[in-house]
Amino acid sequence: MKKSLLTIILIFAVMVSVFAQETSYQNVMKTEIAKLDHADSLNRFQQSANAFSRISQLNPKEWQPYYYGALAYIYQGLDGASSLEKRDEALAKAEELIKKAEVISPDNAEIIALEGFKVMAEVSADPASRGQTLSGKVMHNFSKALKIDPKNPRAAVLMAQMEFGMARFFNSGTEKACDLVKLSQRSFEAQNEETLKAALLPTWGKNLADKLSKVCQ
């Protein structure tokens, strides 16, 4: 009895450790992605960026840790209270990580959309002198992402935000922007968030779509 119990325990212990090894990357990623989803301060974003950097040093062949690390830096670059220099420093770091992600996973709509988001943050850091030259690059990235994955909700909703800005500027209709918001909302609804989360794929952006859809009503 004792022997068999010991064997069971031993087997169990081995299994646990094997299981733990297999999924520690998954688990750590899931925890950190959830933390990033709820982060709301520069400190938290930097903690997230650091956490993803720790994960990528152990998993250099995965694009997701670079992706989320870049996202954490982009959020820092969007912080209006920071100096232009600080914001650019964070966005330069984001750029570096996006490049690494792109090498691992080329032609990935999520990464291209993130690149667009990064340039969007650069524009918002200094709109007066960057708006004219960089807006085209932003739109280019989003349309490229949508060409690869026509249902990508993040590319659609961020593009919608750009379209809103343009419609306001030219005093024209917001149909195009609202179509994109609807497309984005439909994509968000159609997808299974749990499946995406299990695959460590991005799910962010729904709040923005919901917020923008109110403008369209």
Partner: protein
């Protein structure tokens, strides 16, 4: 069973207690100030944490025995230290040393003014060059709103700090451009041949520049062409002076842009009265093609070819003579080609260089006597840079120049020419003592086959960044340049003129405000002097010398007034030189003492418009009045020009641009031309050198055609 459970629990508890090591401590900089947000972790594990606002950290790890702690923080060198995890709490203090971060580190700003979208220490954005009111899309005219320059309204070229226009060399992608300005008659202003929307940025130096730039006594202007365009598109322009079309095709790894333009001032000049006596208004065509090809991961190859033709016929009054005066007809053909590359190698090596060639043919008929002049400039260059570490880099370059000039009196078949080969080598080092202090030193050497003459240009600069983002730079160096080919063809053994620059600069960019102040002292030796006239020099010698000293200030503010961007420039130049036909040291005609400009851009989103105005002013040009004793003893009244412009975007892909120069209608005078002989009463008659017209009015419609509806031509204004 119970006992087993208890023992199991105990086992787990004991193991977890035994296996966990608590690590705490503080991350600080060299001064002991805590660094927040640093990443502290055990290498090869997920165990780690970020430091808090005070640089403190605390985490647990299950790792045992010998481990390595890695500490990373933005702006600091990554540090690794060995620890032993034994279950006992560990306390570690780690101080990081700052890393050289080119994004935020000090830059050498003495003499330099950059237009760039990416770099920090810029005074202009590339788009400013095209949206500066009064510039009318001319790169040179936009640069004339910067400190250290003087507007010479009857010339149109760049005059920098008491130097004449030939003392500024112009480069495209690092390679020299011969005859960068359109050919024109005397006292009829010219324009830069190259469209500003070819370039992503520029580097304009008014002194103390790198040894990379040679054969320029006063100034270097380096223009960098765009990399990959974003999308395939067509750009159509319809202007009061002509029109053009540009087509861009973009592939995955390469892109081609081709364009053709035609300009004819005749319809415009028939509507708006002109002061110049045109027989045939200036007309020109140009066509160009630019190709970009990515080369591996980080390399680039660019090819660019431009060719154009222009013609004009003008009558210029001769003082003391009745009638229309001299008839000047100019017919110009110009071609420029440029092939450049850049590539990154292994072990922090990088390479760039290329080949450029320009051919300029002027057919000049002065009173029906035809003369043909041909200028050729060839330039080949290869540069290798090695970054030994983030602090220290070395640049090593070799250049070969061909400078050829020939002129021919077609009727008498009289011809003379000059073919000069120049070899140059330069070596330059950048050394960062810290993020605050950088030194640059270099040596340029050269040899000319025609002058049979060696020269050496040592140059150095130092920059120091203060606590408040401001920085001081100093620069000094020697600069050599051979006299104009039109003189060298007459006397082949002419040697280099030499200039020495000494510059002190203060530069600060903070929160969308930029202040730049600079003082300089410059000496000239060995300048070419001659008797006769500029057109027919005799007794050429190199006995001239001179100096220029002064200070200038630039202030730009995008912050204080909402939606408004403005800059103010003031330049003081005290310059005297014995040179060309001057017999003594005098203030040259192209170096007004006080120069100023104000440029203002205001965006009105309700009108979807950018309104611009610019005012440029100087204290007047010296001239020589032969009726008075002395030389260059007289001065014109002050020069002043107020320009306005309006850019309207009715649709994202359409821009309407209207501009008018000299709205106040001031009659600016740039000097006087005197009769070569006095009249019966012993008086030298004169005619005024003035503006071609009181005002210049420009209207243009620019349309972008592409699948992407947001594409616009704002860059083409």
């Amino acid at each position: 069973m119970k006992t087993l459970l208890v023992s199991l629990t105990l086992l787990f508890v004991c193991c977890s207690v035994f296996g966990q090591t608590t690590i705490s401590g503080k991350i600080s900089d060299q001064k002991g100030t805590g660094i927040p947000g640093a990443n502290v972790f055990i290498k090869g594990t997920y165990d780690g944490v970020s430091s808090d606002e005070n640089g403190k950290f605390n985490f647990e790890t299950a790792a045992a025995n010998k481990q390595i702690i890695t500490v990373q923080a933005l702006g600091f060198k990554t540090q690794e230290i060995e620890i032993i995890c034994s279950g006992k709490p560990l306390s570690i203090q780690i101080s990081l040393t700052e890393s050289i971060d080119l994004l935020t580190a000090v830059t050498i700003s003495a003499g330099a003014m950059e237009a760039s979208d990416v770099k920090k220490s810029v005074v202009l954005k590339p788009i400013d060059i095209v949206t500066t009111s009064g510039a009318m899309g001319d790169i040179t005219a936009a640069l004339l709103t910067l400190p250290g320059t003087s507007t010479v309204g009857n010339d149109g070229r760049l005059f920098v700090r008491g130097g004449d226009a030939s003392e500024t060399s112009i480069f495209i992608d690092g390679l020299q451009v011969g005859n960068a300005y359109g050919s024109t008659a005397a006292n009829v202003p010219t324009r830069n041949r190259f469209s500003p929307n070819l370039f992503k940025g520029s580097f304009f130096s008014t002194g103390g520049y790198s040894v990379e730039y040679g054969q320029a006594l006063s100034s270097a202007l380096a223009l960098n062409t765009l990399d990959m365009p974003l999308r395939s598109q067509g750009d159509l322009s319809i202007m009061s002076l002509g029109g053009g079309y540009t087509q861009t095709f973009v592939g995955k790894e390469n892109a081609v842009t081709a364009s053709a333009n035609y300009y004819n001032l005749a319809p415009y000049q028939s509507l708006i009265s002109q002061k110049f006596d045109w027989e045939k208004s200036p007309a020109s065509w140009d066509t160009e093609i630019a190709m970009k090809q990515k080369w591996g991961k980080s390399g680039f190859i660019k090819a660019y070819a431009h060719t154009e033709g222009s013609s004009m016929t003008i009558w210029q009054p001769v003082p003391g003579e009745p009638g229309r005066g001299d008839r000047v007809r100019i017919n110009n053909r110009y071609s420029y080609g440029n092939l450049s590359f850049r590539q990154t190698g292994k072990n922090d090596w990088s390479f760039y260089g290329g080949l450029a060639y320009s051919h300029n043919r002027d057919l000049i008929n002065l009173n029906y006597e035809p003369i043909r002049q041909i200028n050729q400039v060839g330039h080949a260059k290869v540069v290798a840079t090695k970054d030994f570490n983030p602090q220290f880099s070395l640049k090593n370059g070799v250049e070969w120049y061909l400078k050829s000039f020939s002129e021919e009196r077609i009727d008498d078949k009289l011809k003379r020419g000059l073919h000069d080969h120049q070899l140059n080598h330069f070596l330059e080092t950048d050394y960062y003592f810290s993020n605050r202090l950088v030194f640059r030193g270099g040596l340029r050497s050269g040899f000319s086959t025609v002058a049979k003459h060696y020269w050496l240009d040592p140059r150095a600069s130092l920059a120091y960044k203060l606590n408040n983002q401001g920085q001081f730079s100093i620069a000094a160096g020697k600069f050599h340049q051979l006299p104009d080919e039109k003189l060298r063809v007459l006397q082949n053994d002419l040697q280099n003129a030499e200039a020495s620059h000494y510059i002190v600069n203060y530069f600060i960019v903070n929160n969308n405000r930029t202040l730049r102040a600079e003082a300089f002292y410059k000496t000239y030796e060995n300048l070419a002097t001659y008797s006769g006239t500029d057109q027919a020099p005799v007794r050429i010698a190199q006995t001239g010398s001179g100096y220029a000293r002064g200070a200038d200030v630039f202030y730009r503010d995008k912050k204080t007034v909402r939606n408004t961007d403005f800059w103010v420039t003031y330049s003081f130049v005290d310059s005297k030189r014995k040179y060309s036909v001057y017999e003594s040291k005098v203030q040259p005609s192209f170096a007004p003492k006080h120069n100023g400009s104000v440029v203002l851009k205001h965006f009105v989103s309700r009108l979807k418009s950018q309104l611009g105005t610019s005012w440029s002013w100087n204290s007047g040009y010296t001239f020589n009045d032969p009726n008075l004793p002395g030389e260059m003893q007289s001065k014109t009244k002050a020069y002043s020009d107020l320009s306005i412009s309006w850019s309207y975007l009715p649709k994202p892909n359409m821009i309407l641009h209207l501009a008018c120069s000299n709205v106040l209608g001031r009659n600016n005078v740039f000097g006087y031309k005197y009769a070569s002989q006095p009249d019966e009463t012993g008086f030298f008659e004169r005619t005024q050198i003035g503006q071609g017209a009181t005002r210049m009015i420009f209207a243009g419609l620019f349309i972008t055609l592409s699948k992407d509806k947001t594409a616009n031509q704002l860059n083409n204004l």
